[in-house]
C-alpha cells in the first residue's frame, strides 16, 4: 500500500510539474490575497487576535482552492478507472494525501512568509508557531482530501466544498487560531500542550475516519 501510495504521489507531482495548474494558480492567489490585506490594513497596528484570524482565513481559502483538485481532476479527466483497475482504494487515498500535504506545506510556507514580510509581524515563539502551522495545515490537508473525494462525484463541486468542510474543520481552526495568538504573544510549550494534544488527536481521528470511509466513496 505504501509503495503504491508513493507511486501515486510521484505521478501527481509529475502531472503538476508538467501542467503547473495548481501551484501557479495557488501562488498567484496567495500573492493577491496577502497584498489586498496589506493595502487594506496600511500602517495600522492590529492585534495578535486579528493577525491569527487573518493568517488562518488565508490558509483555509488557499487550501480549499488547491486541494480539491486531487480527486476532481481524476473524475473530470476520466482517469479514476485507471487507478481503480491497478491499485487498492487505500493506496489511492494515501497517495492523494501525500500529494495534498506536500502541496499545502509549500503554499502555506509561501503564504506565511509573505504575510510576515509584508506586515512585519513579530512572533514571540517562532518554533512553536511553526509547530502549530505544521499541525494545523496537516489536519486541514487530511480533511480537505477526504471531502475532495466526496465532492468529486457531485455536480456543484465549487459550492459543496466550503459548505461540507466548514463544520468539520471548525474544531481544528479554533484550536489553531487560539494557539497562533498565544505563539505571537509569547508562551511556553506547556501552556500550549492542551491545544497540541487536541490537534494531534484531531489528525489521528480524521485520518483513521478517512481510510475507513474512502473505500465506500471510491466504489461507484
Amino acid at each position: 500500500m505504501f509503495k503504491a501510495g508513493i507511486e501515486i504521489l510521484k505521478k501527481d507531482l509529475k502531472l503538476e510539474l508538467r501542467s503547473r495548474y495548481a501551484l501557479n494558480s495557488l501562488l498567484m492567489f496567495i500573492l493577491v490575497l496577502v497584498c489586498i490585506f496589506k493595502f487594506a490594513l496600511g500602517e495600522e497596528k492590529i492585534s495578535e487576535q486579528v493577525h491569527a484570524g487573518i493568517i488562518w482565513a488565508l490558509i483555509f481559502f488557499t487550501c480549499t482552492g488547491g486541494l480539491s483538485r486531487a480527486f476532481v481532476s481524476e473524475e473530470e479527466k476520466g482517469t479514476s478507472a485507471f487507478l481503480k483497475l491497478t491499485t487498492s482504494s487505500s493506496s489511492v487515498i494515501l497517495g492523494k494525501l501525500f500529494f495534498n500535504i506536500l502541496l499545502s506545506f509549500i503554499t502555506v510556507s509561501a503564504l506565511v512568509l509573505l504575510y510576515i514580510l509584508l506586515t512585519d509581524l513579530q512572533i514571540a515563539v517562532p518554533l512553536l508557531f511553526v509547530l502549530i502551522l505544521f499541525l494545523g495545515t496537516l489536519g486541514l490537508s487530511v480533511v480537505l482530501t477526504i471531502i475532495s473525494s466526496l465532492i468529486s462525484k457531485a455536480n456543484s463541486k465549487g459550492n459543496l466544498y466550503p459548505v461540507l468542510s466548514f463544520p468539520l474543520i471548525l474544531p481544528l481552526m479554533l484550536s489553531s487560531i487560539n494557539s497562533t495568538i498565544i505563539c505571537i504573544e509569547g508562551t511556553t510549550f506547556f501552556a500550549l500542550s492542551q491545544d497540541i494534544i487536541l490537534l494531534f488527536s484531531y489528525i489521528i481521528v480524521v485520518t483513521t475516519a478517512s481510510f475507513m470511509l474512502f473505500p465506500f466513496v471510491w466504489q461507484d
Binding site: 509503495k3 503504491a4 507511486e7 501515486i8 505521478k11 509529475k14 502531472l15 508538467r18 501542467s19 479527466k77 476520466g78 482517469t79 478507472a81 485507471f82 487507478l83 481503480k84 483497475l85 491497478t86 491499485t87 493506496s91 473505500p215 466504489q219 461507484d220
Partner: protein, 215 residues
Amino acid sequence: MSASAQKGIGIPILSVNSLSKSFNNKTVFKDLSFEVKQGMSLAITGKNGSGKSTLLKIICGLLSPNTGQTQLLFSGKVYGSNEIYKFTGFSAPYLNLYDELTGYENLELAAKLRGTGIKNIIKLINRFELSESSKLLCKNYSSGMKQRLKLAFSLLCDPFILLFDEPTTNIDESGILIFKKIIEEHRSKKIIIIATNDKSETGLCENTLNVEEYK
C-alpha cells in the same frame, strides 16, 4: 463459497450470479448469471444501451450491481468483486489514460501500482507498434494509438481475465490483426470476455451472451 465454485476447484472459474443493475429506476438487466472457465471465451452482445459495458464494469469492479455478485475461483481461493481487478486486464473506449504522461510512463505507472515488474512494457510497446511514439505525451496520440496503448495496458501484468469493450474501435487493419493474434495466443490459458457487436470480434469467441435477454 458457492456450490458451483466448489465443484470447480483446480479449474479457475469466473462466476456471475444473479446480477441486476438499474439506473434511475430503469432496469439495464436483471437476474443475469453465467460462468466462464479457464480456456473459455465469451462475446457479450446486445444493441446500444443494452448494458454490455455496464456488465463488464461490474465484472472488473468499476461499478457495483444492485443485486447479485461476481466471484473468481482461482487456485482454490474465492475472490470477491473488490479483488477481481487484481486478476483482470481491461480495455475500453471510456478508460482514459493520463494525457500528461507519455505512453511508456502510463504503462510504467500501471505496472508499478500493480506491483509487477516493468519488463513487459517494452515488449508490449513493440508488439503494438508504438515504439516510436512511446516517448510522446498521450495528449499527442491519435485515437487509434490511444486504443493500442489501452490494449497494451490491459495485457501488461499478464492478467488471468481479459475484458475488452469494443477492442478494435479506431484501430487500423494492422492493429486488428495484432489484437486477433493476441486473442489466439491467450485463448487456451485465460478467460476472455469481449463486449461487442462487431461480427469479426464475436467470431473470436466460442460462446455468446445477449444481454437483451435479461431485461
